[in-house]
């Protein structure tokens, strides 16, 4: 800056005193020099990009340039001599004056370099922001101040815009769902939002100014520094959009995975980097899970017993397992990318492609679960039958189809075998003599033979599919259904082998008795039950016939008993009359009539009494059965004693010697046992010639629970040929004159013994005596 009448001097140069140059010529030279300098100065002034204004100590503009004219919208001569406050209402003029107390240098020192922001006023009254840079200028007129005035409207606008932006930006920052951190080129955090505070567990002021490495130990900070050789923009270009995965560090030292998205931010401070920090823990976990799933899936795939092949919508194999390699005889890499039609010439590949018009899911919906039988092609060209099971698989690449491929050659063979067996079985079935019916678990007839058709009078097709209940109304159908809760095998286990008696129903509704034999039959349809059905009408008839006969027999027995009873009973009365009156006759008229009369009467009397005795004995015999009592624990010794008491008379008269061993407790009817002993001992005493009767009774144990009694005598004895006969009814071996008696005694004994479940027999030697044996049941052992 050049003062007007002065030479151009730097500030600290001593001022040139104008008095020193009174000499005109010097003044002329100085003027010329000054003019020269002035021109140069003026040139500079004019050329300055900023408005330049020189102001004297009074605050008047003494000099200005073209830019100033333009900036302020004045003409030069309108401004020269004006107060600078007219164009800069406040600001530096006052300061200068105010600052007069200090040296200009001091005052200026504060302003050197530093632009002061003020507001300028144009001629038209509009204002605009300016920045002025002051520098003193010594001149003949004193210290002038040169002010370079820069119109900072743009910058102001930019600043305002920036401030606005900053405000808006700050708002966005705060609202951002992710943590946002702005980092300067020094790697320091200059800005952050509330999410960042939360995520990292810091307070804002704790993070501002911090190195970003404190929260993101590794990653982008370095890159920034490393990338310092290139511009941050270049470095960022690579990262724009792409998220970088890093590990972040919380205040509490815990780590969490993050994804950062970097973007540059121009600012007054230079290029900042905005980092959007997303906590991807959840995503990372999901990703891990996915990876695990994928791993698992892959594992499953590999472990699957069947060949597994995953095919994309283009029909190409994108995944396969080791089984697939084996089955088809290819290596994995030979198959990946191949059209699946190379290994499965027809079938599902076409369907997929054809079905492309609908979604794969729709297409598969038809095939899910059901196996499709196709033919597969090995590498070596050989074919083999397969069964496919398809299922959709969602993936990033779209819908894929997973195919489980099962080699069913074996099964095919089994099926053939089964068909063969079936054929054979069918043959057996047809040939069976009994009706055979095979029933499924729903109780429906699935198979039957010609016998069944005949038995039930249906034609085959009328029965197949029918509920077996229609032909066997009760019985095994229910059991099958009821037993649905347990396995059919368990249910049958109870029935195998044993015949069940039920009724079968013919087509015409008539029923007939049957016997069922069930056996399980394994088949593809599950467990079936084969029932052999035998018509047992004849057998039943025979049974009932038998039963009938037995009943008849029983009835006739009873009738016989009754007859015997009634006969004896009703015969008594007339007999009594005959017997009594003939006796009375005999008594009263004996000797009063002639001998013939006596004889006749005698025979009548005799006949009558014999008849009475016979009837009496017959009654006694029949009473053994009808009047028999329950077999109880009885002392056979007591029974014998009673019998002897009853035989007292006979014993005394004959002088008989009756002895016995200790006799046991037996199961018997006491009265009948007494009767038995009485008859036997009575006989023993009676059938004697001349000797004194000696009778001995003993008992020996026979086996675990029987007693063998013996009544031994020294009487007449019995001829062996009569051993059986004597036990018959009314059988006598002696003449009436010899021995009295009707011959019923032993028959009664036999009946009594047999009623007790025992046996009676005799051994004897004529003239030596007899021994009668009989068995009785012993009493139950008490534990």
């Amino acid at each position: 800056m050049l003062p007007e009448n002065n030479t151009l001097t730097p500030v600290h140069a001593p001022p040139l005193a104008t008095e020193a140059i009174h000499d005109l010529s010097v003044r002329e030279d100085a003027k010329k020099h000054l003019a020269q300098m002035e021109g140069k100065y003026r040139g500079l002034l004019e050329a300055a990009p900023d408005a330049m204004v020189v102001v004297n100590e009074d605050g008047e503009i003494v000099l200005l340039n073209l830019q100033a004219e333009k900036q302020f919208g004045y003409r030069r001569d309108e401004l020269l001599g004006q107060k600078v406050t007219n164009i800069i209402p406040d600001g530096f003029a006052e300061r200068l004056i105010a600052d007069d107390l200090r040296s200009e240098e001091d005052a200026l020192t504060q302003q050197i370099g530093a632009g002061i922001e003020l507001t300028a006023l144009r001629k038209d009254g509009s204002e605009f922001p300016i920045e002025i840079m002051l520098s003193p200028l010594e001149s003949a007129e004193g210290t002038l101040v040169t002010a370079a005035i820069r119109n900072i409207s743009v910058r102001k606008a930019a600043d305002k815009h920036l401030a606005q932006m900053e405000g808006r930006y700050r708002g966005l920052l705060e609202a951002a769902p992710d943590a946002m951190v702005v980092v300067n080129q020094g790697g320091e955090i200059v800005l952050l939002n509330v999410q960042a505070e939360k995520q990292f567990g810091y307070r804002r002021d704790e993070l501002l100014g911090q190195k970003v490495t404190n929260i993101i130990p590794v990653g982008f900070a370095e890159r920034l520094i490393a990338d310092d050789l290139r511009s941050a923009e270049d470095a960022l270009t690579q990262q724009i959009g792409a998220g970088i995965e890093l590990t972040a560090l919380r205040k509490d030292r815990s780590e969490f995975p993050i994804e950062i998205m970097l973007s540059p931010l121009e600012s007054a401070e230079g290029t900042l980097v905005t980092a959007a920090i997303r906590n991807i823990s959840v995503r990372k976990t999901a990703e891990k899970q996915m990876a695990a799933m994928e791993g698992r899936y892959r594992g499953l795939l590999e472990a699957a017993p069947d060949a597994m092949v995953v095919v994309n919508q283009g029909g190409e194999i994108v995944l396969l397992n080791v089984q697939a390699e084996k089955q088809f005889g290819y290596r994995r890499d030979e198959l990946l990318g191949q059209k699946v039609t190379n290994i499965i010439p027809d079938g599902f590949a076409e369907r997929l492609i054809a079905d492309d018009l609908r979604t794969a899911e729709d297409a598969l919906a038809q095939q899910i679960g059901t196996g499709i039988e196709l033919t597969a092609l090995r590498k070596d060209g050989s074919e083999f039958p397969i069964e496919l099971m398809l299922s959709p698989l969602e993936s990033a690449e779209g819908t894929l189809v997973t195919a489980a491929i099962r080699n069913i050659s074996v099964r095919r063979k089994a099926d053939e075998h089964l068909a063969q067996m079936e054929g054979r079985y069918r043959g057996l079935l047809e040939a069976a003599p009994d009706a055979m019916v095979v029933v499924n678990q729903a109780g429906e007839i699935v198979l039957l033979n010609v016998q069944a058709e005949k038995q039930f009078e249906y034609s085959r097709d009328e029965l197949i599919g029918q509920k077996v209940k229609n032909i066997i109304p009760q019985g095994f159908a229910e059991r099958l259904l009821a037993d649905g809760l347990r396995s059919a095998e368990e249910a049958l286990a109870q029935q195998i082998g044993t015949g069940i008696e039920l009724h079968g129903r013919r087509k015409n509704g008539s029923e007939f008795p049957i016997e069922l034999m069930l056996s399980p039959l394994e088949s593809a349809e599950g467990t079936l039950i084969t029932a052999a059905i035998r018509d047992i009408t004849t057998r039943k008839r025979a049974e009932s016939h038998l039963l009938q006969k037995v009943e008849e027999l029983n009835r006739s027995n009873e009738e016989l008993q009754q007859f015997a009873n009634i006969a004896s009973h009703d015969l008594q009365e007339p007999l009594r009359m005959v017997a009594s009156y003939t006796q009375l006759l005999s008594r009263r008229y004996k000797g009063k009539l002639d001998t013939d009369a006596d004889e006749f009467i005698a025979f009548a009397v005799d006949g009558a009494s014999r008849m009475q005795r016979l009837i009496h004995d017959l009654l006694a015999y029949s009473r053994v059965g009808t009047k028999g009592k329950e077999l109880l624990n009885t002392s056979s010794e007591n029974a014998l004693q009673q019998a002897l008491l009853n035989l007292r008379g006979a014993v005394e008269d004959s002088g008989a010697l009756v002895t016995h061993d200790p006799l046991p407790m037996v199961k018997a009817d006491e009265m009948q046992l007494t009767q038995l002993f009485q008859n036997l001992v009575g006989n023993a005493i009676k059938y004697q010639r001349s000797e004194i009767p000696k009778v001995h009774i003993s008992a020996a144990m026979d086996g675990e629970d029987k007693w063998n009694f013996s009544v031994k005598d020294n009487g007449l004895g019995i001829d062996p040929q009569y051993f059986e006969k004597i036990f018959g009814m009314f059988q006598r071996l002696h003449k009436r004159e010899e021995f009295a008696g009707t011959g019923i005694g032993l028959a009664i004994c036999k009946k009594i013994v047999e009623r007790h479940g025992g046996k009676i027999s005799v051994e004897s030697r004529p003239e030596y005596g007899s021994t009668f044996h009989f068995t009785l049941a012993g009493i139950e052992r008490r534990s």
């Binding site: 007591n638 008491l645 006491e670």
Partner: protein, 147 residues
Amino acid sequence: MHKEVLLVEDSPGDVRLTQEAFRDANKSIRLHVAADGVEAMAFLKREGAHAYAPRPDMILLDLNLPKMDGREVLAHIKADSVLKTIPTVILTTSEAETDIVKSYQLQANCYLTKPVQFDEFASLVKIINDFWLTRVKLPLQAVSGQE
């Protein structure tokens, strides 16, 4: 088969006499004695000490008893559906018609007057034995406690 006879008699002398007479007549008779009506009923109903008493085939009942007299006993016996079928023979000193009639009204099976003389008494017992315990058909109701 033993026969059980219940003698309801308070006079010990008479009891002894009866016992002797029965012993002569029939050894297979078991004579039970009740000294008064209460004991007689207890015996018949198998109460208390008589829980295992056998059912008598015949009852010889004296009318003059302490505590519960013979008529009451007779009435009780003949009112009981189970006991009423046991032949109950009054064997008492009284000859009074009123007693006889009363007894038959109360359904006594028979009324006998005790003879004064022993040999007559013995002969009576013999006849009782002969008639009632030999010839007469006695009812057989379910007997328990006997063989």
